[in-house]
Symmetry: C2
Subunit: 337 residues, 2 copies
């Protein structure tokens, strides 16, 4: 049984890769080139790279569909659409955040300019809706609505993230909501849109959405910790980068609002006009830890992952079916390293 599931996922994975490439081929030559560059299909001169994104989200679409005992092949349009929405948000977020590199290559705006990056993101978003709407499924309308609502949350999350940069007073609760919107929403969608499109029972899709949301929050909290304490080789970002740009990620907000002496000292550093030097950055990281921000984030991430795995076990009494989802969740939450 397990091997049949695995085989059907393998087939769907290859079909997803092909459908993703085919979707890019619909674009006009300029947008095709730029979007294909962003997806890692070729370099800025059009030379094929052999690389491609890690594809966590399409994988979640396929294995969640398989978990509901539906053919993951029927979820391929959803897998492609979710990956396109994810990449739309990356291309535009890189513009807004001024990030010049991603996956060890120049970002789209850095390589091709602002206007082209704007249009490329727009093209990816429009393409997502188009690919999904074409899915030959009686429940395609629900899937399109789910993806749209998710996109709305992504945008709300990014808007909140940007607004936080200039706000001195961010509460932990709103910070967590921002992170749930920025990261949880799309993972919730990735874990439920395939079953939705494949007409799996609504209760399975709902449980998988909740599972994905919690995994997304755990994943984001782990990413927040990496944004302070590193692993450049994994994230492509330098150590202390979030402190350097004075981001208000959850562990930092937890520290700032802790009511501790360390939190107050961190607040004073964040208020400083001049850029923080290397000593001050190292001190800021220590203060986040002293104020309990690190421990809080680690515990919260663990709690979200545990809750997600419990939900999964309840929704899928046969552990074989849910095993790939559980493994992916553990990996995403950074609990496999």
């Amino acid at each position: 049984m397990t091997s049949v599931v695995t085989d059907s996922v393998t087939i769907a994975r290859e079909a997803t890769r092909e459908a993703l490439h085919a979707s890019i081929e619909r674009l006009d030559p300029r947008m095709r080139h730029v979007c294909g560059y962003h997806l890692g299909l070729w370099d800025a001169d059009g030379v094929p790279t052999g690389l491609s994104g890690k594809g966590v989200r399409p994988e979640l679409v396929l294995i969640s569909t398989a978990a509901t005992n539906r053919d993951p092949l029927s979820a391929v349009p959803a897998a492609v659409a979710v990956e396109l929405v994810h990449n739309f948000s990356l291309v535009h977020d890189d513009v807004m955040d001024g990030d010049e590199s991603r996956r060890h290559r120049p970002t789209v705006w850095a390589a091709f300019g602002l206007s082209t990056a704007l249009l490329a993101g727009d093209a990816l978003l429009a393409l997502a809706g188009e690919v999904l709407a074409e899915a030959p499924s009686p429940t395609v309308g629900y899937a399109v609505q789910a993806l749209s609502a998710t996109t709305r949350r992504l945008i709300a999350g990014q808007a909140a993230d940007l607004a936080f940069e200039t706000r001195p007073d961010v509460a932990l609760e709103e910070c967590l909501r921002m992170e749930a919107d920025k990261t949880g929403a799309l993972l919730a969608c990735a874990c439920s849109i395939g079953p939705m499109l494949a007409d799996a029972p609504a209760c399975s899709a709902a449980a998988l959405a909740e599972f994905g949301e919690r995994v997304g929050i755990a994943f984001q909290l782990d990413d927040d910790l990496l944004g302070i304490w590193g692993a450049t080789e994994r994230t492509g970002k330098p150590v202390l980068s979030d402190l350097r740009s004075r981001k208000k990620s959850a562990p930092i907000v937890a520290a700032l609002t802790s009511g501790t002496a360390a939190g107050a000292a961190l607040r004073a550093l964040y208020r400083q006009e001049a850029p923080l030097d290397e000593d001050e950055l190292a001190r800021a990281a220590e203060l986040v830890e002293e104020a309990g921000g690190r421990t809080w984030a680690e515990r919260r991430a663990a709690a979200e992952l545990d809750a997600a795995l419990r939900l999964l076990a309840e929704a899928f009494p046969d552990p074989h079916r849910a095993a790939p989802l559980a493994a992916m969740a553990t990996r995403l939450a950074g609990r496999d390293h």
Copy 2:
């Protein structure tokens, strides 16, 4: 009969206005505020203005649906979606073109900054797909695909427009294709998506798409002429603005590629490194005219409008049904002034 059609359009127009407002209310507070500002619902401080866009595209959706003898009320989600896509493109185009004012108010990026404008455009595009997908129609899938393909053409047109700015050698044919993508595509969609959603005969929808495409080209050519010779009060743009920014609009490309002495002189002016002064701008406008660019654009616009009206008369033998579409086409092509 005519008054019944008119009444049903009046009802649908009000429903469209309400549905457009309701769609904006789905957004998070920040995006709601910014998108509502752009749509003219309120000013930058949130004070209601009583203004709103001219709504040409939703009007086309409703009257084309009525022309096919379907209830325009069933096309309301399409009218809202087309208006949202139009406004998405305005918000992002203003960023790319660096335009600081629109409809005599600061553009979104000028009022709220680049990142917010990026997100607001994204939000409007996502909302369009969402609203349309919710339409309770068995043919909603076709409508969603039509809108997506249209958005793809809008993006391709804007990408070409930007690319032309730095290309010395733009052919008239590709310039016309760019204008058809930038303007014709969305009017083609506005004239056919309502009938498509209301399950009108496919041949009517196809004729209306062709009609809208040609009206869009005539409209764009008229707009190109206004971009050189003015009517600031109508366009909100200063006289000679397209020459100042060395746009390669169709009348200008027609002049540049005319093989005339005036065309060569214009080419030399366009190659000049320094900004053109007022005398040079006036001279450039004269050269476009001498090289035949103005006459060419006027004739081509008239030919497109005539072809559109012929198509309409063939598709709708009852002139009452098509009269509102014919009137709107004439107005859009600038032939009513």
